[in-house]
Symmetry: C2
Subunit: 345 residues, 2 copies
Amino acid sequence: MTQFIGVEDMRRLVRSTGTKAFLTQLADYVRHDFSRWTEFEKSARVASHSREGVIELMPTSDGQLYSFKYVNGHPNNPKTGKLTVTAFGVLADVASGYPLVISEMTLLTALRTAATSAFAAGLLARKDSRVMALVGAGAQSEFQALAFQALLGIEEIRVHDPDVLAVDKFMANAAGFGMTLVRCTDVAEAVAGADIVTVCTAVKGRQAVIEAGMLRPGTHINAIGGDCPGKTELHRDILDLGKYFTEFTPQTRVEGEIQQAAADYPVAELWEVLAGVKDGRTGDADVTVFDSVGFAIEDFSALRLVYDLTAGKRRMVDLVPELDDPKNLYGELVGAAHPKLVEPA
Amino acid sequence: MTQFIGVEDMRRLVRSTGTKAFLTQLADYVRHDFSRWTEFEKSARVASHSREGVIELMPTSDGQLYSFKYVNGHPNNPKTGKLTVTAFGVLADVASGYPLVISEMTLLTALRTAATSAFAAGLLARKDSRVMALVGAGAQSEFQALAFQALLGIEEIRVHDPDVLAVDKFMANAAGFGMTLVRCTDVAEAVAGADIVTVCTAVKGRQAVIEAGMLRPGTHINAIGGDCPGKTELHRDILDLGKYFTEFTPQTRVEGEIQQAAADYPVAELWEVLAGVKDGRTGDADVTVFDSVGFAIEDFSALRLVYDLTAGKRRMVDLVPELDDPKNLYGELVGAAHPKLVEPA
């Protein structure tokens, strides 16, 4: 039997743990797995592109556990009441190849993206950062605000989205966060005075939502939304201004902001900064950019946390047969000779 | 909500449809999809190898539907009561990226492998084939026997496996198939007089289960078990004797029997034979070899059949959130502002 964690199970887990506590634990798991980076099997995700969007598979393994995530990105989905990004994933036992848990990951991806952003900002942003611009008030926005409050001590959010209803939604959800919320009429106003700039828009195409001229020295940019070929959010002038940091560079060169840069544009991976192998921020005037596209190890960390938190209270589904004789698949499941009944969960 | 087809659901579907009828329909679906081969996005599967085995992801898409399968291969699993191969898969809607159905595929993979074998043999074997050697009496054996009876008119099975209990199991399961069953003491005896030789062993390593000297002219070899790097079943001398046919050659050159051959060893893909682009069998004396490793399009066909057969009687799980406002993931699932309750299935 395989553990199943549906949307309602995940919702209850996060609510009972507390969103900020969950984000904090998740950032710890991400940090732990990034600190043992070389133990992981890493590959760029396998993407299937269509006119409407992309479907991706993101596998990784540390030799003991294997995980993969299925995730789609379809910017026009909200027009028909669907989510832009949905996801689910599996954690499996490498020794047997058996899946341990299949889990919803739409909510979990939102959480791990925010936790990873905050983990990266903890490495790269100025320690006295208190004000964050939030450009894009979509499904990811509240998670970013909470993660940066919990892990970075951010006190003020300056939010802008051309979709006024999205900002209304953010303001209503964040009203109880205990943060100062400032609704801004354009991107420049949101970015003005911000220590950290989080950009999470879903529009496809080469955008230049953030321009170099908007940024003051010392800013950390958390660039979430530029995450597939042809989709960027930062003006390419920022390439000359900032130091770029990646998760797994071979994937980011194809999908991230640095797809606009030369193939040898210098970057450092987060794990290298964490391990002290490469420099992160070297002074208060550096502009640092986390060119986030999302990497399989973050999903691995997230599934591992969920698996640990749900020990002993797991709903099971019959995804894999249990046979008395593993060579007798036919006889035990199909044939009449051994009419064993397996009860569904 | 996403359709969920567990082991028990699949078992009931196959039993109510009838195994031979299911195999016949499945071979039709495989033939249909192989006949529109160029419409599919094709890639070698993504494999994660460990000391104990392999975990693979096998995605494909025809532009309307997307599918992937998770499958493991762990030859030592039966020692601890587990199956060598387990699998599950997903069929998804390309336009929205939403999963339509998540299905057990351990049983379904056994069925699709047998259906594909019979489809290939229908293209390649002599039409007067009546006797099949079955080398390996493991989990795949009964499905092969039934598929070749249903689709090729095979009347006699000559079975050998060094595991006597596996042969006992096969003989018991196949007793009601209405075929002549001959228990053979070694491989040579099983192969003697056979029109078709099906090889499905699970042992890792370079084996030479079948040697060129055992084969008479006109034999069709259905080579199932050589399906990952370092795992082959046919003596390399057969490369000089037979014409080899593949599913998707870039994958087969890495995983199939032809990993023993030069990189330019000539092969034809099944779809090319089906389309008349390349020759299949050109005379009654040809030795033909289906170098089967399993390809994603066969799983696509199998999931498509199951989806069609289960229309209107689907068990649902909450793998993907349903939101009133797709941008309000936080508010509807985590926040207190909209305490909407989603009931689990």
